[in-house]
């Protein structure tokens, strides 16, 4: 299994290189760092030279990319020019930690709720609860994240106007260290709830479909023919089989959450990777963009591998040699 993992990781390297190269080229050809200086009347040639030297602008893009990747694998992602030239790698890690503060609780809630709802409504197919869950998940799928987030904010505003008090903060991040536990909680709730609603809606649909397929399968009937109690049939025979196809979905969703949710974090003014990414790309900050892409790619690759290994653990038919 270790050999398999190593091979899998090695196999993703070309993909990672190609992906980062594409991003590098796209950003590099889109913005000319010299453009800002053209309108600068007080700048002399030395200012231009400094910029050219900083970005290696006198070298072709592929060579610049090679330089970047050589430094990047040594942990040096260069300065983030749009953020006062602080170290891009350090900035990204700091923001990634902030994203994780909402991503981890959101993911745990999503998986728990989606499994429970999906399994329950599949087992009670066509019951009133099944229809309710299905209806709610349709609503959740159809509700754009930003509309839901704005709705939550509006409710908080109304509460503030109506009662002079609101339970949760609509923007900004508060931490235990600086603001205390309660304040931390009040600032984390809305972003987490937003992420949970959106992803639970789709995941519970997948879970329901997976469970339905399982409970209509022959081996479930075999278990019933043995006289095994219903609860045990569902939990012991059904659930494990129905979780297998979910593993990939979980892995991709968790990687996406950890990589920063652009919309949610932007709306709640959360200092995570999402808004940082938008700002980096909009300002064509090459080093910062590349550092973020590198991290999100590694997250996707890592969790894909985790999903594959979990697959092998859950499903004895799959063996990795």
């Amino acid at each position: 299994m270790l050999a398999y993992s190593v091979r899998r990781v090695l196999a993703t390297i070309p993909l990672l290189l190609l992906g980062t190269f594409i991003v590098y080229v796209l950003v590099a050809i889109s913005g000319d760092p010299l453009a800002k200086l053209v309108t600068c009347t007080t700048c002399d040639q030395s200012a231009f030279d400094r910029i050219i030297d900083l970005y290696d602008l006198d070298k072709p893009i592929p060579e610049r990319y090679v330089n970047w990747i050589v430094n990047a694998v040594q942990g040096d992602f260069g300065p983030a020019v749009s953020f006062g030239s602080i170290d891009a790698g350090a900035l990204v890690l700091e923001r990634a930690a902030n994203s994780a503060r909402v991503a981890v609780p959101a993911f745990l809630l999503i998986v728990t709720i989606a499994v429970a709802l999906g399994v329950y409504s599949a087992v009670n197919q066509y019951s009133r609860l099944d229809y309710t869950v299905t209806g709610l998940s349709f609503l959740g799928i159809s509700l754009p994240t930003f509309v839901f987030a704005l709705l939550l904010q509006t409710i908080m505003i109304w509460m503030l106007e109506g009662f002079g008090w609101r339970p949760f903060y609509v923007t900004g991040m508060r931490t235990v260290e600086l603001d205390g536990f309660l304040e931390m909680l009040r600032s984390h709730v809305l972003p987490v709830v937003t992420l949970v609603l959106v992803l639970t809606a789709s995941e519970s649909r997948f879970q329901r479909a997976a469970m339905l397929e399982v409970i209509n399968s022959d081996y479930i009937r075999t278990a019933r023919a043995k006289g095994v109690p219903r609860r045990r049939v569902i939990l012991r025979h059904g659930l494990r089989n129905a979780l297998i196809p979910m593993v990939t979905i979980w892995a991709l969703d968790f990687a996406a959450l950890l990589g920063g949710s652009v919309v949610t974090e932007t709306i709640f003014a959360w200092p995570g990777l999402g808004p940082l990414f938008i700002s980096a790309v909009s300002q064509l900050d090459l080093n910062l963009t590349m550092a973020i892409v590198m991290l999100t790619s590694l997250l996707v690759i890592t969790f894909n591998l985790v999903a594959d290994l979990a697959y092998g653990w859950l499903d004895p038919r799959i063996r990795y040699e």
Binding site: S30, F138, L139, L143, P144, V147, L150, V262, V263, V281
Partner: protein
């Protein structure tokens, strides 16, 4: 599928009505889907007819009513420079729906062709499509979107094309799976033995069997596209103002959430309504077009 249900279905050997007729009958019995179809038609109609009936044009300014909430004269309120938000919402709905339809059609066509080719021929082309899909997990779509919009502008059509170029793997994967499965089946082998050309086998023999999932997913794509487009608009990365898509309207209104939440929530409600309709219709179509989904 339980044995009993299979046995029960095997009893149904006479198919007197045509497949399309049966599908429509089944769809009609799907009450939510029918309701969604009617609602979507009404919404579309109001987007088309509404602006004609309104006394205001979408850029007319009413200086006696700046930045107001809903009133009799302006049922959806006005924006900070006195433009009527109802007519702007209808026009916005027009643009959003048009973009979404364009995205759905383009994505479906591209996805179907690539999925069909990679599924039927497999091998290198299939592997290439796989790698391409994997690449998209690494290269964030937002970068491509922003960069392309920088270069080629961000009009409604340009945005639709860019999104379609990013979204086609969604459809390609489904079509490809079906083609992989059908390519080995007897009726295809029979057609090949009878000397049918590859193109004929792909598009006359196999494609009709994949028709159901394609139509269903194209319908669902309309919902996804509306959400994508409005989200981009909201982030300021979509169709550039002054084109008033639903997302742009919400982006314009989000600063005034405190004083006038209706300006953001009303277009938001329209987005939800359209997406819900598309999802319910897609679900109804899934039941209607899947011959195996018979239930009491």
């Amino acid at each position: 599928m339980s044995e009993a249900a299979i046995d029960a279905r095997e009893g149904i050997t006479t198919v007197s009505r045509s497949f399309g007729r049966q599908a429509w009958d089944r769809f009609r019995r799907h009450r939510l889907a029918m309701f969604a179809l009617v609602l979507l038609a009404l919404l579309t109609l109001s987007f088309i007819v509404g602006p004609w009936l309104s006394p205001y044009a979408f850029s007319d300014q009413d200086f006696s009513a700046l930045n107001q909430g809903p009133s009799l004269a302006h049922p959806f309120g006005t924006d900070p420079i006195g433009r009527d938000l109802m007519v702007r919402t209808f026009i916005g709905g027009r643009y959003s729906l048009r973009i979404a339809l364009l995205i759905a059609v383009l994505t479906t066509v591209i996805g179907t062709v690539i999925g069909a080719v990679s599924g039927y021929f497999g091998g290198a082309i299939g592997a290439a499509v796989d790698q391409f899909i994997n690449l998209f997990l690494i290269v964030p779509s937002l970068i491509i979107l922003i960069v392309l919009a920088n270069r080629y502008g961000s009009g409604p059509n340009a945005i639709a094309v860019v999104i379609a170029l990013l979204a086609w793997p969604l459809i390609a994967r489904i079509v490809r799976g079906s083609f992989l499965q059908f390519r080995e089946q007897e009726f295809v082998l029979a057609a090949r033995a009878a000397g049918a050309s590859t193109r004929r086998i792909m598009f006359r023999h196999i494609l009709p069997n994949v028709f159901g999932p394609i139509v269903v997913n194209a319908t669902l794509l309309i919902g996804t596209a509306i959400i994508l487009e409005s989200t981009l608009g909201f982030l300021g990365l979509g169709v550039r103002p002054p084109v008033p898509t639903l997302g742009n309207l919400i982006a314009e209104a989000k600063g005034a959430l405190q004083t006038k939440p209706s300006a953001a929530l009303i277009p938001g409600g329209f987005i939800v309504a359209i997406t819900l309709c598309a999802n319910f219709i897609g679900d109804g179509l899934r039941d209607a077009l899947d011959p195996t989904s018979r239930r009491s």
